[in-house]
C-alpha cells in the first residue's frame, strides 16, 4: 500500500516536472523567436521581389533572387561604405589596442607616484556621454582641418575606446605573474622588448576581447560619423545605410538586402568568437 502511494506520488511529481520543463522550453523558444525573427524576416524578404513580398510577407522566398542585392550594391555604393568601415574600424582598433596596451602595461607594472591618478583619469572617461562632445568635436576638427578625413573619425574612435581598453587590459596584466619578465629584465632586456616579447603575448585572451569589442564598437558607430563625415566617398556603413534607406523607402527588398549584407560580418564574428564578444561587450558595459 505504502509503496504504491509513494510510487503514485513519484509519478505525479515526475509529471509536474515534465509539465514545468515543457513550459520553460515554450517560454524560451518564444523568447528566441522574438530575438531572431526580425533578422530572419529581413534576410528572407531580401530575396523576394516587391510583388512577392506583398503577397507572401512571412514565408520562404519562392526563388532566392539576387536582384535586390545587385541593386543595393550598385546604387548604394555599398562597396565604398564597406571599405570605409573596414578601414576605419581596423585602423582604430590597431591604434587603440596598441596605445591602450602600452598604457595598461605602465599602470600594471610601474608603480609611479601619480600612476593611479592617471589610470582613473582614463577609466572615468567611460562616463562621458559622447553626445556632449559632438559640437566641440565638430568645431575642433574644422579648425584642425580634420573634417571629412579618415583621421578625423579614427582619432575620436581611439579616444572614446581607450578607457574601456585600458580598464580591461590593466586588470588582466596585473593578474599574471612577474617572474618571466623579472628574469628577462635581469638578462638586460629593455622595457619595450619586454612589452613586445613577454607582456603582449601573455595578454592574448584580454587582447582578443578588446580587439573584438573595439571592432564592433567602431563598425557600428554612427554619431561621430554623422557629424564629422559629409563626403559620400568617406561614409561608413551605418551612415551610408541610414542615407540609403532614406532614398529607398519604397524599395524594401533593396533596403533589406543592404542591411543583411551590413550585419553579416558582425554576426559571423559573433558566432565564431562568441566568448570574446560577450566578454568584451559586457565588460564594456559594466566597467567593473
Amino acid at each position: 500500500m505504502a509503496a504504491q502511494s509513494a510510487d503514485a506520488r513519484n509519478r505525479a511529481a515526475r509529471k509536474r516536472k515534465l509539465a514545468w520543463r515543457t513550459f520553460v522550453y515554450l517560454v524560451l523558444i518564444l523568447y528566441a523567436a522574438i530575438n531572431v525573427y526580425p533578422i530572419i524576416w529581413m534576410a528572407l524578404n531580401s530575396f523576394k521581389t516587391n510583388a512577392e513580398f506583398s503577397r507572401n510577407p512571412f514565408g520562404l522566398p519562392k526563388t532566392f533572387h539576387l536582384d535586390n542585392y545587385r541593386i543595393a550594391w550598385e546604387t548604394a555604393r555599398l562597396e565604398v561604405y564597406f571599405f570605409n568601415s573596414l578601414f576605419v574600424a581596423v585602423a582604430a582598433v590597431i591604434l587603440t589596442v596598441l596605445f591602450g596596451a602600452l598604457a595598461a602595461f605602465v599602470f600594471a607594472r610601474f608603480p609611479f607616484k601619480w600612476g593611479n591618478g592617471v589610470y582613473w583619469y582614463f577609466v572615468l572617461g567611460m562616463l562621458i556621454p559622447i553626445h556632449a562632445t559632438l559640437v566641440p568635436m565638430f568645431i575642433q576638427e574644422r579648425e584642425l582641418g580634420l573634417l571629412n578625413t579618415y583621421a578625423g573619425i579614427i582619432l575620436p574612435y581611439i579616444a572614446f575606446n581607450l578607457p574601456v581598453t585600458v580598464f580591461i587590459l590593466t586588470s588582466f596584466m596585473k593578474s599574471f605573474s612577474k617572474d618571466i619578465e623579472e628574469s628577462a629584465v635581469m638578462d638586460g632586456c629593455g622595457v619595450f622588448r619586454v612589452f613586445w616579447k613577454i607582456i603582449l603575448p601573455m595578454s592574448g585572451p584580454a587582447l582578443a576581447t578588446v580587439v573584438i569589442l573595439n571592432f564592433i564598437n567602431n563598425w557600428n558607430e554612427f554619431s561621430f560619423a554623422l557629424v564629422l563625415i559629409n563626403e559620400e566617398s568617406l561614409k561608413t556603413l551605418p551612415l551610408g545605410l541610414a542615407n540609403f534607406s532614406g532614398q529607398f523607402t519604397t524599395n524594401y527588398g533593396a533596403q533589406m538586402a543592404g542591411l543583411t549584407l551590413a550585419i553579416l560580418p558582425v554576426i559571423i564574428i559573433y558566432l565564431f568568437l562568441e566568448k570574446y564578444v560577450v566578454k568584451g561587450m559586457t565588460a564594456g558595459a559594466v566597467k567593473g
Binding site: P111, P136, F160, S223, I263, V266, A285
Partner: protein
C-alpha cells in the same frame, strides 16, 4: 616592484600616445562644450558671451522638457522592461537545461547588431502598409488593430521603446547570468535544506545575492537611456512633430539644423548633468532599499 625603476623615460613614452589622443579628443571637447554653452554662436561669426541665458532659455523651452520626459520614458522602459525580462530569462537559464547555450547565444544577438540597422529593421517592422506587425495583425484577422505605429504621435514613443527594450535585453541577460553563476552552490544547498525552494528561494536568497549586479544594471539602463540618440535619429528623427524627441536629438537639431551652437551645447551640458544626477540618485535609493 623596483624592477623597472632605473629610468622613467621609456614609461613616459609608453604612456604618451594614449594620454595625448584621449586628452585631445575626449577630455578637452567636454570642457569646451561647457564653455560653448555660455555663448550665442552660429558657428562662423563672432561668439557672443551670454552667461547662463542659454540655460534659462532651455528651462523655459517646452520642447526641451518634452524631450526630457521622453528620455524618462526611455529610462522607464529600460528599467521596468529590460531588467525584469532579462532577470526572468536569466533565472530560467540558470539551471541545467539542454540547449541553454543556444538560448544565450540567440539572446545576446541583438546587442551586437548596429543600432542603425536595428532602427532601420524595426522601422520596417512598424511600417504602416507593409510592416511585419500590421501584416501579422491582418494575417490573424485583427485588421482593425493595424496602426500607423511610427506616424501616430501617441504610438510612436511606444514603438521606439519596444525597439530599445528588444535591443538590450540580451546584455542584461548575460550580466545577470554571470552573477547568478557566481553564487556558490553551497548556498543553494543550504537553502534547500532549510526548506526554501522555487519562488521562495529566488526571492529570499537568489535575488539578494545578486543585488549589487541589479543595482549596476539599473544604473547602466539609466545612463544608457539618457544617451539614446542613434536609434531615434534614424527611426523617427524625433518625429512625428516632436513626439519622439529626446534631449540628444533635440540638441543635434538645434546645433546642426538651426546652427545654434551655444544653445545646443547648453543642452549637451544638461544631458551630462542629468545623467550624473539620475545615476547618483538611483545609486543612493537602490543601495539603501532592501529587497
Amino acid at each position: 616592484m623596483h624592477l623597472y625603476t632605473r629610468s622613467k623615460g621609456p614609461f613616459l613614452a609608453a604612456l604618451a600616445p594614449a594620454v595625448i589622443v584621449y586628452t585631445l579628443f575626449a577630455i578637452i571637447p567636454i570642457f569646451v562644450s561647457f564653455y560653448y554653452s555660455l555663448v550665442e554662436w552660429n558657428g562662423f561669426t563672432d561668439m557672443k558671451f551670454v552667461g547662463l541665458a542659454n540655460f534659462a532659455e532651455a528651462f523655459g523651452d517646452k520642447i526641451f522638457w518634452h524631450s526630457f520626459v521622453n528620455n524618462l520614458y526611455v529610462v522607464a522602459a529600460s528599467v521596468f522592461g529590460q531588467v525584469p525580462i532579462a532577470l526572468f530569462f536569466a533565472l530560467l537559464l540558470n539551471r541545467k537545461l539542454k540547449g541553454s547555450k543556444f538560448f544565450r547565444t540567440v539572446g545576446f544577438l541583438p546587442v551586437v547588431i548596429s543600432t542603425v540597422v536595428v532602427s532601420l529593421v524595426w522601422g520596417m517592422i512598424f511600417n504602416v502598409r507593409r510592416g511585419l506587425i500590421n501584416q501579422l495583425l491582418s494575417a490573424v484577422g485583427l485588421e482593425e488593430l493595424r496602426q500607423n505605429w511610427l506616424g501616430d504621435p501617441k504610438l510612436a514613443m511606444i514603438a521606439v521603446c519596444i525597439t530599445i527594450i528588444w535591443q538590450f535585453i540580451g546584455l542584461y541577460l548575460i550580466i545577470f547570468l554571470a552573477a547568478l553563476q557566481n553564487i556558490p552552490g553551497e548556498i543553494d544547498d543550504a537553502a534547500r535544506i532549510d526548506g526554501a525552494t522555487g519562488l521562495k528561494q529566488t526571492i529570499h536568497i537568489t535575488l539578494p545575492m545578486i543585488r549589487d549586479t541589479l543595482v549596476v544594471a539599473v544604473i547602466l539602463c539609466i545612463s544608457g537611456s539618457l544617451r539614446t540618440f542613434d536609434l531615434i535619429y534614424v527611426m523617427t528623427s524625433g518625429g512625428p512633430g516632436h513626439a519622439t524627441e529626446v534631449l540628444a536629438t533635440y540638441m543635434f537639431d538645434k546645433t546642426f539644423s538651426s546652427t545654434r551652437y551655444g544653445y545646443g551645447s547648453a543642452i549637451s551640458v544638461c544631458i551630462f548633468f542629468f545623467s550624473l544626477a539620475l545615476i547618483g540618485l538611483s545609486n543612493l535609493l537602490l543601495r539603501r532599499r532592501a529587497f
